[in-house]
């Protein structure tokens, strides 16, 4: 049974079909929520809220082929709702596990990763949501703009700025890595 059929059945009240849809999407949604909220427990709350709304409001979805996009919107809105309500601490430091990458591009990957992480830390919740929606969830800019209720041009400029900062951070770190050590320095 393909996803469209699952959605149609779930829309008709078939909870098992909905469960299949959940199992197929929850990991990705959980990652997206973690990126936006930078807190695993809040992310869990947001994803559960979003999926609960998805079950409750599934009959409002006219086109079953739009299920993924619709679900992404619900979860992102749930994240922003959680973010709006939470005021945890002045600064948050999130330490993620280091990934395993092929040795050949390991150094570049790590530098890029750190550049992205640094920019995400500086962005506010909506800024992170923009980056995550477009680059992680694959939502087009118009859809990102619709979710946030802002013009597409604003989304574009914020994305452009964030990407620019990431590239600048990556380039600076790459230059630092490439610089030769002074003679006599122990590496």
């Amino acid at each position: 049974m393909d996803q469209r059929q699952l959605v149609e059945q779930a829309r008709g009240g078939d909870h098992d079909a909905f469960a299949s849809l959940v199992h197929g999407s929850v990991a990705r949604l959980d990652t997206a929520a973690r990126l936006i909220l930078r807190d695993a427990e809040l992310a869990r709350d947001a994803v559960q809220d979003g999926l609960f709304r998805a079950w409750r409001d599934l009959r409002s979805l006219r086109d079953p082929d739009r299920f993924d996009a619709w679900l992404h919107r619900l979860v992102v809105n749930a994240c922003l709702d959680v973010a709006r309500r939470r005021r945890r601490r002045p600064i948050e430091i999130h330490v993620a596990e280091m990934p395993s990458r092929p040795a050949a591009d390991h150094a570049d990957w790590l530098v890029q990763r750190e550049a992205v992480a640094a920019v995400l830390r500086r962005l506010d919740d909506r800024g992170r949501a923009i980056v995550v929606m477009h680059y992680y969830l694959g939502m087009p800019l118009t859809e990102v703009a619709a979710v946030l209720g802002i013009p597409a041009g604003t989304v574009k400029s914020r994305l452009h700025r964030a990407l620019g900062e990431m590239r600048a951070g990556f380039a600076a770190d790459q230059a630092a890595v490439a610089a030769p050590l002074p003679e006599g320095t122990v590496a």
Binding site: H15, V22, V26, T31, R34, L51, F52, W55, I91, V116
Partner: protein, 427 residues
């Protein structure tokens, strides 16, 4: 340009790495929740639908015995046992502190990686009393019992004696997304907010279904990591509660009877205060005033502390500053003369997090005590005797006690992973 494109192509993978974590373990829980819920019919959109699958029964009204009566019959009550309203530590005969105001300093409890730790900050000794995915312990107002959350990942409330013995799970059905929780002043019940933004009351003595006190509130009454902040029961008798509810779809500060009836908004949209968000309502120990924080629509991340009288009059800003810092988690001292809070300033170079800030409520005078913590404070709260503040900086988690008068800091040598709860004992 090729490098830029390559970077952009790598970005989804990088984000995947950054956001990766353990596989979600809450799917079954979620599906249990949706499986028990109805879908909205297609014709109702976009109207809101409120689920009401719990029969609301008003909590039995209780009158607290007067303090004089407690003093006169205290010894006799200690001999009665299980039918007495307040559970006792087995075999002990001791005075109990009043539910509000000054008390003696007892032990301190916190959670650390799923364990409940009870410690003596003076003797610098500690003991683990629970190990089953436990979190956020909170002593009862009389100091005889300890409640905590068990997260597996469903959430249950466990109530035990103050030394951890005789634990009882008081949630007949495990919960999802439990956020705020607090003891009632008489120690008979626990009030929580759940993922559906309801305020629920549980019997603190036995497993039972909760009573819905407020059907439409805000679960973020207080921070989930700092149990000392936000107290919804109005002193001295706890017959009223303050909470965050909804008025015309927008958040409002409400005061109601303890069973949720006769609710009135004392800070609401369209009033004297323009706000987007409210947090952390907390009664003064004399029950006359509520402290809370609010963020303006133009600056949703910037919260300021306010005070308002219980009837909604006298709204005023607490300790305004020309550099416009953000205020967090205002906590009343036990006698109500001071409020401790967390304050930080946004600067071009970053965030300037200040030491714990103490405000004299009458004069507005502000001073700081203790060291700076780069990420602020995991938890803090006044000692029951009002002389100290116990706190754990986020950076180190070390439990510190600062003398409010002198600023002297005592390092306990202990570390905490969550909110700190200080046991109140008779003076």
């Amino acid at each position: 340009m090729n490098g830029d494109r390559q970077f952009e192509r790598n970005l989804p993978g990088i984000l995947t790495d950054l956001g990766a974590g353990p596989a979600p373990d809450y799917t079954d829980l979620l599906l249990a929740r949706t499986g028990g819920s109805r879908q909205r019919p297609a014709w109702v959109f976009p109207e809101r639908w409120l689920p009401m699958d719990t029969v609301a029964r008003p909590a039995a009204s209780t009158r607290l015995p007067s303090l004089r009566l407690v003093a006169l019959v205290g010894s006799a009550l200690l001999l009665v046992g299980a039918i007495v309203a307040i559970a006792l530590v087995a075999g002990s005969r001791r005075e109990l502190p009043p539910a509000f105001g000054l008390a003696g300093n007892g032990l301190v409890a916190w959670a650390d990686e799923g364990r409940i730790v009870v410690a003596d900050p003076v003797a610098r000794t500690s003991q683990v009393i629970a190990t089953d995915s436990a979190d956020r312990p909170r002593f009862s107002p009389d100091g005889t019992r300890l409640a905590w959350l068990r997260k597996t990942p469903r959430i249950d409330i466990v109530v035990a004696n103050a030394d951890g013995t005789s634990p009882v799970v008081v949630t007949a059905e495990s919960m999802i997304g439990l956020r705020f929780f607090e003891w009632s002043p008489d120690g008979r019940s626990l009030v929580v907010t759940d993922s559906r933004n309801r305020i629920l009351r549980f019997d603190a003595a036995r497993p039972s279904e909760p009573t819905v006190v407020v059907a439409e509130g805000d679960r973020d009454i207080g921070g989930d990591w700092n149990n000392q902040v936000a107290s919804i029961f109005r002193p001295p008798d706890g017959r009223q509660i303050a909470y965050l509810g909804l008025v015309r779809g927008a958040e409002a500060l409400m005061v109601a009877n303890a069973d949720g009836t006769s609710a009135q908004a004392i800070v609401a949209p369209g009033g004297d205060l323009r706000y987007l968000d409210l947090l952390w309502p907390s009664w003064s120990p004399d029950g006359s005033t509520i402290a809370f924080t609010a963020a303006a629509p133009e600056t949703p991340d910037l919260f300021h502390a306010y005070l308002v009288n219980a009837d909604g009059t006298g709204l005023r800003r607490l300790a305004a500053h020309p550099e416009n810092p953000s205020d967090g988690m205002p906590v009343w001292s036990p006698v109500g003369k001071s409020i401790a809070m967390q304050r930080w300033y946004e600067t071009p170079d970053g965030v300037d997090v200040r030491p714990i800030t103490i405000v004299d409520v009458a004069s507005g005078e502000v001073r700081e005590v203790g060291p700076v913590s780069i990420n602020g404070f995991l938890s803090y709260g006044w000692s029951p005797d009002g002389r100290s503040i116990i706190y754990a900086p986020d950076a180190t988690h070390e439990v510190l006690v600062v003398d409010v008068a002198t600023g002297n800091v005592v390092e306990t040598g202990l570390t905490a992973g969550s909110g700190l709860s200080w046991q109140r004992v008779a003076r």
